[in-house]
Symmetry: D2
Subunit: 273 residues, 4 copies
């Protein structure tokens, strides 16, 4: 972009360029059927990355903790079958080396934004990294966390705004839309927006998706699930797969209005939106 | 709109209908020349309301407190000369009766959102009211505050999201974009977005303006000043008048993308945007 | 005190001197029986002021709004019968003149901290004023609000820290204990602590009461009710009257430990504490 | 204590018993001279643990990152020479095994509160652990984080309230005093209070120290430095060593007032306090 943001290119996809890069899929990988079903729908609707967690950081130890390496194998299989790339969270330094086969964009989660040993390990790895903002952290701290990665020589860093913690409880977190242009300008890195974790409820995901594009977001990270009511993780905020193509069509229109684009989906039912 | 929001109509302008209603002008009315200059530019760019404070609630008693009734006379004169309507903050019950001549849409400021006697007085007055969200208040409390007005029999209530107080200091307040669809759905009233007070700095006003439309805002309340460096109030967040038409053109595109509209301005230089 | 805080003296009671001045009573005045019963217990336990709201600012219009002037008459009667002074919230400029007969210390509530016309009216009145901190306001803004009163020539201003709004929901508000020494030092005014509104639940009132004294609070504002389960307002945070003397005895010990005092109650059952 | 809190005993010291256990020392271990000087003063004033960071998590990579293993050797030496135990932050799973020689109480820092692999590693280690509250985390999340440790079979867990992030900027964080009784009651674990990180400025450390005891804190974690102006880390909030004995004497009085104790120091100059 002409606005001084350096794009991060993975395969043929430049994050930070004219395209608003869509990353979508379930919160957690649960089964081959689930992840493959999600991959087919999101690929057909114009997404470029398949998201899905294999190693989950859950608030409570009683919650589902993910399928681990088996999950990543399923994620890779589903992405390869549908022409998508993968984005998934890495929790420990030990996972970095093995993750290369399965993960195209390594996500550092909100709760690990200031886990310095992990930041440095991914800095040394040269894997493309997406650094989520800590929900209790300022833009300043987020930028400093990115510097821990950049300082190790890894320039392929994408930021992700996913909402901050405020007194408002009607949403799970408050999406800080201003953080998008501020972080882009201050660090010159692309910023992806996650409307799902901030909304916490699928009813508000569409509004936050469109706001995320309008404020200059370089990408979107959206949770979608074939059957949200049965999801093992964060079902309340997952968009139903059947509604995902329509959401993408609306996103496409706003992207166009701000001079950007989202690739046309293969089997879009735009008329219904 | 088909989404269950009841529009509030003032003269020929329906807030909550297909049009995204733009309200613009300086933070404070400072002089005839200033307010008239602002009125001409914002009217030509497609705004419907002229904003300007005459009675200011300032954090410190040492700050400029406004021109009072003389200010309102200038606001009326400038609006009438340019075909605009007026929106301005009312501070006390005593001002309500006299305000009718000058103010078409009575604003209750963020610091007065829970000033119950004032809420009731404007409820009894039957003036159209725009209720700003208290910067420390939840959506629930905002809705209850609106009920104080509605319960007096006044149904012409518009809400205004203007940012909430969070730990982030890069902006003055954090614009809570999710509050727009939530408040619209829960109370069925139109919601205007104020990008200026949340940004606190003009660099981020454009992003928040576009996000405000994308998330479903029924209107915009934007501060603009002929010479922000000399503004007596909140100059840092005022958009220069010379840049306002271009901001409106960008807003128009996003409005169109979400199925709404902003009237074309008379002398728009869209090519430059 | 030798620490530069100017005390505010009402009758024989100096707020900001060696005594930690206790103000206690119900959230709202409900009946003669209720307020008189409360007055007797709190007076006997060492309190100096009887608190009780007659004009309530409630979040929802559906909640009990107070007994109004009749409430103040009952408050005065109960205080006079037990040798207490009165503290109660004033909502409007119109109430100021009439309030003098009933209210010894005029409280400006948290929701009115930036209601400038009310601040100025109480500034002109020369009544002793207790200014509660807005729950969404910084210490800076609180100090500026106090300046609106001081600038009108009224020096009898006491501040009250009552908790701020944060993301934590286990309490109603988060008591900002550091605000006590900071506000005392920056403005040289006494600071009273309200443990009840911040706790929101009576289980935590004792801890916050003792912390409020330990951090340098010049007084305490505590809600207590003969039958909290039946209270018309904020019953969950009211200490039962039967437990109030024991709470005062614990407070007295901490006050003594920091070089201050709380007057001995008449019929204290210290042994039980 | 009779209040249902299970104490954690390290050598002869029970955290969660009648004693308010004081842990003090510099933010970062900088040199033998510095840490030994600090150890002598804090031991003489009644502290039981020497604190000092060897592996620092700093917001910016440009800040001092600690002396590492050499730092821990100096910490051990200084503690052994003065009869103190040690408390220090552990950053990675790899450090756990080696840390046993140097660290008596392993601290999990605020930024690592939800670092699940680290929580589990310390759970398996059976080292006594002090879990600091994440500055952006609720009490609920803090309790769940503790459960990750407890579920691995390690019951020697102490919590530490160190302030949460709010909109107030006069302090670095807002000490949540109510969290002390709430966490103690809900999980039955002792809670230590850190007045230094919340204050961010030494002027307010005394008030927060005393409030921390008054609200029921089972211990204190205080930063003190021989020459705060030259400290490599957080100098602004460090109490000067020369003032530490007096602070302890004041703390002792409040501890006594709430039925607890702090051991008498060897060379206390109580008269000066």
């Amino acid at each position: 972009m002409s606005d001084g943001v350096r794009s991060v290119t993975i395969r043929d996809c430049a994050i930070g360029g004219p395209e608003v890069v869509v990353m979508a899929g379930p919160c957690a990988i649960e089964s081959r059927e689930q992840i493959l079903g999600a991959a087919e729908v999101v690929a057909a609707a114009g997404a470029r990355f398949l998201r899905g967690g294999a190693f989950k950081v859950r608030t409570s130890p009683a919650s589902f903790q993910g399928l681990g390496w088996d999950g990543w194998k399923l994620l890779r299989e589903a992405a390869d079958a549908t022409g998508l790339m993968t984005v998934s969270e890495i929790l420990t330094e030990e996972q970095v080396e093995g993750a290369r086969r399965y993960v195209d964009l390594a996500q550092i989660g909100s709760r690990n934004m200031q886990n310095v040993p992990l930041l440095k390990a991914l800095g040394r790895s040269r894997m493309p990294v997406m650094l989520k903002r800590g929900f209790g952290c300022t833009i300043d701290e987020w930028i400093h966390a990115a510097e821990y990665i950049l300082n190790e020589g890894n320039q392929d860093v994408v930021l992700c705004e996913r909402g901050i913690r405020t007194f408002e409880t009607a949403t799970r977190f408050t999406l800080d839309v201003a953080a998008v242009p501020i972080a882009r300008k201050r660090l010159g890195l692309p910023v992806v927006v996650d409307p799902s974790h901030s909304a916490g409820k699928r009813d508000w995901v569409e509004s936050l998706t469109l706001a995320g594009i309008a404020c200059g977001g370089d990408g979107l990270l959206i949770e979608t699930h074939p059957d949200p009511a049965k999801a093992l993780c964060d079902g309340a905020q997952a968009v139903e797969l059947s509604e995902f193509p329509c959401l993408m069509e609306k996103a496409r229109r706003v992207a166009h209005a701000v001079g950007r684009s989202i690739p046309a989906g293969a089997r879009l039912a735009a008329a219904a939106c």
